[in-house]
Amino acid sequence: MQFTSMILSNAEISPGYWRMRLTAPQEFAAATPGQFVMVRVNGAIDPLLRRPFAVFDVGVHTPPQSGAVPQVYFEMLYRVVGKGTAMLSALHETDLLDILGPLGTGFDQGNADEEKLIVGGGIGLAPLYLLARELVTRKSPVRLFAGGRTRDDILCITEFERLGVECYTATEDGSLGEQGLVTEALKRRLDALKGKATLYACGPDGMLHAVAKIAAQYGIPCQVSLEGYMACGVGACLGCVAPGKGHSPETPDYRCVCTEGPVFESSDLKWGA
């Protein structure tokens, strides 16, 4: 659906990373983990295209004033990387934004009894909080493995901990948690579990590729959430495709990230294509 949304808050939560809360229509409460929105940053023609952002959280807020009606809201995390996100970061409470969403196919939450290991890198944590929340609600054991270059790239860990999720962190410079890649901690956990778990990951390509490899080694299911350059978000422009498992230059096999994804089984994709 397309709607006009009012910004409820917009704050820098770590250097360069922002968290925005926005109003949404009642129906938006049905958004599922892994879905995204397309945001029109302003009404001008530069930037021209909408920007895709994962839904970080969805909820209902009852304003403190007496007689106030409960209001559905959603949140998104974003990193200021260019003109569009810089403009977003300059917006304030009560500013309006034009939103399309929730869009795309999100995470499959699997069987409740099996342990769920969630791996996020930097801004890749954005779609994983709602996932963790839903998994916890369904009584799945959940652990989070958050990686980044420095401590500034490790976002919203407190929120995950508040859900009761055990969190492991690793940074390349050792400024928070283990020094190195968070996939090392992931492998140790998988060894302890004797390979009985489901993986969920979102983050930079290198991390996703590494997690997909680990999933293949341990023979366990793994879902990854991809990013893609996209113009429309509704499957029309076909700009955001990713190579599927059968892909080769001679026999191309492309999957549409915005409609078939953004979440895919890692075994359905071609890695390093």
């Binding site: 893609g228 113009a231 029309a236």
Partner: protein
């Protein structure tokens, strides 16, 4: 006395349209993708994604990049192919009481003609739009739409096998668009749509590489409107067939400018990516503009530019 309901209908080479606003090929899927956001029966017509005999997987990524006021795309004509179009897309088209125009292309003159034959047999397809901005693989890869003789031969081959209105979509990547237009009309085109995208390119300075995997791509969006307007104006003065204006139309003002320049109808392209309901919004805005400006019949605006 004020106008209550202005007449927005136009006739496009024998196809009556309730209004002149259509969607542009490649920006509106096969119609169904947008049905949640647009009342398809509020617009004049919709044009399918470019179809070919066999399905096409398209180009490697990145396929699109934004530039100031526009975007570049190198999708690579990804489409489901004519068989899947008939089996999977036509059932939806049948449910919509709005003319469906099939856009198509081929690698050779024979493929274009075969596509025309196939589309000619589909009752739900009321007209055909030929994309001639494709290389002719049998003639050293020369783009059909950049050589008048080459364009004429492929248009004539398609003309010979269909009675349905045949629209030829012109490439702007030519020295003389009027010469191309004349060649296509002489070869039997019932209507011309212009412009297709301009070939452009974007560079990532940090990586010292082109942004698009295909290196070059088609440039579209509001940035190209002045070029499109100029070409529509030139062509409309030179040929007698109806013109469909395309190029960066974002709102009713843009659409009306094309109509003044000589277009009988317009196509909304990139704008649908930003606002899936753009075409319908433009129809509503045109109607409001006509009421506000005392224009009872949109046909009186076609080519009404005072130079």
């Amino acid at each position: 006395m004020s106008i209550v309901k202005p007449d927005m209908s136009v006739n496009l080479a024998g196809i009556p349209l309730r209004n002149p606003v259509m969607t542009a090929s490649g920006t509106f899927g096969y119609g169904e993708e947008f049905s949640e956001y647009v009342n398809l029966e509020a617009i004049g017509a919709f044009v399918t994604k470019g179809l070919s005999l066999k399905p096409r997987a398209g180009n490697p990524t990145p396929r699109i990049v934004e530039t100031p006021g526009g975007m570049l795309n190198a999708i690579g004509l990804q489409n489901v192919g004519i068989d899947a179009f008939i089996a999977k897309k036509i059932p939806f088209v049948r449910t919509v009481n709005t003319p469906c125009i099939a856009n198509f292309f081929g690698d050779t003159v024979d493929e274009y003609a075969e596509m025309t034959r196939r589309l000619n047999e589909i009752p739900e397809v009321v007209a055909l739009e030929m994309n001639i901005s494709c290389p002719n693989v049998k003639q050293g890869g020369i783009v059909f739409g950049t050589d008048p003789a080459c364009a004429a031969s492929v248009v004539a081959a398609c003309r010979a096998v269909t009675q349905k209105p045949l629209i030829v979509k012109l490439s702007p990547n030519v020295t003389d668009v009027v010469a191309m237009a004349r060649a296509c009309v002489d070869a039997g085109a019932d209507s011309l749509s212009l412009i297709n995208t301009l070939i452009g390119m974007a560079i990532d300075l940090k990586k010292r590489r082109p942004v698009l995997a295909n290196v070059t791509g088609g440039f579209s969006g509001p940035a190209i409107k002045p070029i499109a307007l100029r070409m529509v104006w030139q062509v409309a003065r030179a040929v007698k067939v109806p013109i469909i204006g395309i190029g960066g139309i974002m709102n009713a003002t843009d659409a009306l400018e094309f109509i003044l320049a000589g277009a009988t109808a317009v196509q909304v392209g990139t704008a649908s990516f930003i606002n899936p309901g753009a075409a319908q919004t433009i129809v509503e805005e045109i109607e409001a503009w006509m009421v506000a400006n005392g224009v009872a019949d949109i046909k009186t605006l076609i080519g009404a530019l005072e130079v």
